[in-house]
Structures are given as structure tokens and as C-alpha cells.
Amino acid sequence: MRNPLEAVVEGVRERGVETGERPAEADERTTERSALRRLLDRDVVQSAPFWLPPFLLMGFFVYAAIGWNFVISLTDYAGFGTIDYSTLNFENYRAMLTDPGMWAATRNTFALLVGFTLVCLVVGLLLAILLDREVRFERTFRTIYLLPMSLSFIVTAQFWMWMYNFNFGIVNRALGIFGLGPYSWLGDPGLVLGSVIFALVWQFSGYTMVVYLAALRAIPDDQYEAARVDGASTARLYWRVIIPQLKPAMVSASVVLVLFALKAFDFLYAIWGYRPRRGADILATKMVREAFNKQEWAYASAIAILLFVLSLSVIAPYLYQQHRQGNL
């Protein structure tokens, strides 16, 4: 967008900074201006005091830590000793392949990611369309739907443990009216993952709604009018005209939702501690258990690298696509 202008301003700026700041030096520019001065005037260097300190702090904690984690995953660090970096191999990665718990955790992770993301996208879309239909007190409703997202996983886990309580919880009481249940929502291996997904959708569908609402507001009103003049039904209007335009919002919301799902560890830990019920163990909980419960540090860091690669495979294409579209 600012490309054509950029070249012009670039040219002006090259001279501008010096003439403005140091008129005396500007005269003897050609002889006196050393390579060093030119370097110091470069925008990279001038802007470095602003972005470099945060970048280094962030880079250390994020990227250096991941690199370090990878090195640890090549050692055989376990127990309470110190790390021995002398022999490095991929033994932990091979061990992952033969660990039956790994397969279960990977399968559950994907089920959670896919189930949670899809349901959130659909529920959020419905919420957004409802609130976009000129509902009175729309702001209040939006605030209520988004409210659970402001709560900690540890807090919402308490609420849902009570909701799902076998004897006294609301879910079983309500189903009891219809002669169903009671079900062991947080105990039955076939149900636990579904229960967790339901609770997480409760917590995060408000987020999807906010993303969609912003996209819906950006659609010009005359499109609705035009479709109505053509006699299209409301359902058809949304299906054919509006929803296709929400695709970018959908993509970015899915990326963020996948990452929320990867963080679902907190929620599972608050309910079950280090050992989730069979059927609800995901890679994130397994990793923390191997590390802080069993002191299998090296093996845990290998699982952590797997998690990192998983999220990278979601982020990298997204970032690349955003870059291609000039959204970065």
C-alpha cells in the first residue's frame, strides 16, 4: 500500500535526517561521512533500541529455550542428577514410537484439536449471526457470551467438575428429568474427551463469536439488501453470500483455537492432576507427567519437541499465507 510512496520518502529520508539534525556536517558530507556514520544512520540501527531489547528477552525465553529443550531431548537426563551432554542420540524419539501411551495421547490430542476447533467455529458462527441481526442489548449479550474466556482454566475446571458431578451435578439432574443417565462424565473413558470438549467450547465459543462479528460488521449492508431484493431466503443469503466472506476470519480463528486446545493442559490438570482419566490423556499432559511427576526429563523434552513441531505445522503455513497476502 505504501510502496510507491516508500521509494520517494526513502530518498528524502536519506538526506533528511542529516540535514535536519546536523546542518554543519551536511556541508562536508561527502568527505567526512564515514562508513560508520552511514551505518549508524541506517534505520535498522536507529530502530534497534526499540525492538532489540524486547526481541532478545523474548528470543531467549522462546527460541533459545526450545533449542535447549531439543538438546536435552537428545540426552538421557532422568531423576535428580545433572544433565550429561556428552552423549547425544535420538534414543528418546525411538522410545516414543514403542510407547503405547504415546499413541493414545496423540490420538486424543488430535480428537480434541479437531472436535474442539470445529464445534467452536460452528457455535461461534451461530452466536455471531444471531447477535448481528440487530438484537437489542447486543453488547450485553456479547459480554455474557465472552465472559467464560476471561476465567482461568483452573477456575472453569472447578465449575465443570461440579456441573458433571455424578450424583448432584446439573447435567445429570437435567438428563434425569428425561429418564437418562446418570452418566459418569469425567470417569467413563468413552465420555471424558467429549465432556472436556463441551466444557472448552463453553469457554471459548465467545472468542470465535467476537472474531466473526468483526468480520460480519465489515460486510457492506447493501449485500444483504441486494439478496433480499432478489428474493433470497435468509438461510440462503447466509449460506451463499455471507459465510463465504468469513473465510479469512475462520482461518485465523482456527489457528488460535488449535493453540488454545494445545493449552488445554491446565484444564485437565485441574480436574485429574498428573494422571488424566484414560481417554483424556493428551500429549501436553503426558509431557508434564513424564517431566515433573516421573522425572523422565529427557523423554519429556522429546514429547515437547513433538508438540512444538505439531504447532509449527499449523503456524508456519498460516504465517506464510498471511505474508503472501501482505497481512503481516
Partner: protein
């Protein structure tokens, strides 16, 4: 978009005044009225049912938190207790258990929120309003930093703080001072850690605003001889005040609610530096089962600061999560 004339004003009145839209709407008003009234009823019915859905877990928690253990068994989970089943004893107990965790959480949440916001704003300025080659690569690293699963860093993190830095011994000279205690070393570790991992999202939040700012304004200032620093202080900072509010609210909520770093850096619920989420995760656990009223009371006390912030600044929060 709307069916009846009884609806409140359209979101964007300007777009409605255009030719054609009015005629199409009022072409046959009588045909619309009954079916549109029915639709409005269905619409509001759905919206209100959803309100019930989103508030039920919170409501049942609230009424349960004021029940005696006996009333929990005998009353319906969503109804408040009768006068003989009412007690605030659980709140008192939960507050006693959580209060020092609240203090600890405040001690690391507020400084790291401020640091994140300041660093984020500076980084966004250096990466947006100053144009240089290679910016995109640095920016991509910032963005990817938001999406890191924290599991990938917690082992090096605990290694770094507990073995390499060992702050509580290095800073031992400080603990003799009034108000400072050895567990504040852990608080300091949490401040630095949360700042490090909060910088990426704060940078992107500020950048979303700075991208829309007039780049020429900064350029003009620079042509007038203002340094980058003056351009930041005089032009960018005053314009960023609303975004600072968004970032404060978002980041405060994030750090307060965080759990995994507490688990890896503080480790034990009994640690004097234990955060509020860490204590809550182990509250009311006993062999005879979970004390639900106590848990619910604890959950509300732990959530209180974020709830207050959310209710007061819901718009800023929505803005923060949207970007």
C-alpha cells in the same frame, strides 16, 4: 438484515440511506408483520437460552458456594439454599487459603503486565513505523512466539531458574532488607518469565494499531530533525493510550490466569510464593472426596480480579482477544 420497523437503529446508518434499500423494505409492510414478529420472538428466545447456557456453570457454582455440605446433597444444584442450609464459612476458609496466593499473583502480574506493554509498544514501533529490510523476518519470529506451546520450554525454564540462576542465593543480601523475603526471588523469576512470553502478543496488539497510524506523520517529524525517540514519545505514545488499556487488560488476565509456569517454577502448593491458580488447583482435596462448596468459593475468589476487570472493561477485553 432486519425485518420489522420496530428494530433499533442499524449499525451503520450511512449505509442504509442509500437508494433502493428503503423501498425494498417498505414495499409490503403488512406481509412482514406477523412472520417477522414471530421471528423476533424466536431470535430473542434463542439469545436468552444461550445466556442461560453461558451463565449456568457460574450460577450453580455461586449458589453451591454458599451451601452447607448437607444442603449440597439435599437441594437442587441451581437453587439457592434455604436459611438453614446457608453458610459463608466456606468463603472464609477459601479466603484464608488463597489470600497469600492473591498477594503473590498480584506481585508478579502487575509488574510483568506493565513491562510487557512497554516492551511490546517499543518493539511494535521499531518494527512498524520505521521501515527497514529484514523487518518481516524479525516480525515473523515475534508472531510465532505467541503460538509456542509452553510445554516446549518448561524443562529448560526450570533448569535455567533453579540451577543456572539460583536467584534466592544470589540475591541473599536483599532478604535482610525490610519487606523482602527469600520467596520474592521466585516472584522475580515469574515476573521475568511472564514478561518474556508476553512480549510477542503485546507487540502484535500494538502493531495492529500502529499499522493504521499515519506513517507520514512520523516521517515529517523526522524530516524536521526529531529523533526516533522523540517521534515515539511525542507522537506515538499519546496516540497509544487506548491500546495500552487494551493490552493491560488482556495481559493482566492472561498472567493472572496462567498456570503452567506456576507449576514449573513454583512447583509446590505449599511454597510461600505459590500463586492463586496453583493453590486453587489443590484446594479442598481430601480422601473423603472433593469439598465442592469450598472449591466453588475458592474459584470465585481466585477469579474475582479478572471478573472485575472484565465487567468494567469488556470492550477492551474483546478488542484484545480479537486481534
Amino acid at each position: 438484515m432486519s425485518e420489522g420497523s420496530n428494530t433499533p437503529g442499524p449499525v451503520d446508518p450511512g449505509a442504509r440511506v442509500g437508494e433502493g434499500s428503503d423501498e425494498s423494505r417498505e414495499s409490503d409492510p403488512s406481509a412482514f408483520t406477523t412472520s417477522s414478529a414471530l421471528r423476533r420472538v424466536a431470535l430473542y428466545g434463542t439469545v436468552l437460552a444461550l445466556v442461560a447456557f453461558y451463565l449456568t456453570p457460574i450460577e450453580t457454582g455461586l449458589v453451591t458456594a454458599i451451601k452447607t455440605s448437607e444442603a449440597v446433597r439435599t437441594t437442587l444444584p441451581f437453587l439457592p439454599p434455604g436459611p438453614d442450609g446457608f453458610t459463608v464459612e466456606k468463603w472464609v476458609y477459601a479466603f484464608d487459603a488463597l489470600s497469600h496466593g492473591m498477594v503473590n499473583s498480584m506481585l508478579f502480574t502487575i509488574p510483568s503486565t506493565i513491562l510487557c506493554a512497554v516492551f511490546g509498544s517499543m518493539a511494535a514501533y521499531g518494527l512498524t513505523l520505521v521501515d527497514w529490510r529484514g523487518q518481516i523476518a524479525v516480525l515473523a519470529l515475534f508472531i510465532a512466539g505467541i503460538f509456542i506451546p509452553y510445554q516446549a520450554v518448561i524443562i529448560p525454564l526450570s533448569e535455567f531458574w533453579s540451577i543456572w540462576m539460583n536467584l534466592d542465593e544470589r540475591l541473599a543480601f536483599l532478604w535482610a532488607l525490610p519487606l523482602l523475603e527469600p520467596h520474592h526471588a521466585t516472584i522475580l523469576e515469574l515476573i521475568v518469565t511472564h514478561t518474556g512470553y508476553g512480549i510477542p502478543i503485546c507487540t502484535i496488539l500494538f502493531r495492529a494499531q500502529y499499522k493504521t497510524m499515519s506513517w507520514e506523520m512520523i516521517e515529517a517529524a523526522r524530516l524536521d530533525g526529531a529523533s526516533l525517540w522523540r517521534g515515539y514519545r511525542r507522537i506515538v505514545l499519546p496516540l497509544s493510550v487506548p491500546m495500552f488499556a487494551v493490552v493491560f487488560i488482556f495481559q493482566f488476565t492472561q498472567v493472572w490466569n496462567e498456570f503452567l509456569f506456576s507449576l514449573t517454577i513454583i512447583r509446590s502448593v505449599g511454597d510461600p510464593a505459590a500463586s492463586v491458580t496453583l493453590i486453587l488447583s489443590g484446594l479442598g482435596e481430601a480422601l473423603e472426596g472433593v469439598d465442592f462448596p469450598l472449591r466453588m468459593a475458592g474459584a470465585f475468589i481466585a477469579a474475582l480480579p479478572t471478573l472485575v476487570v472484565y465487567v468494567l472493561f469488556a470492550d477492551q477485553f474483546a478488542e484484545g482477544v480479537r486481534v
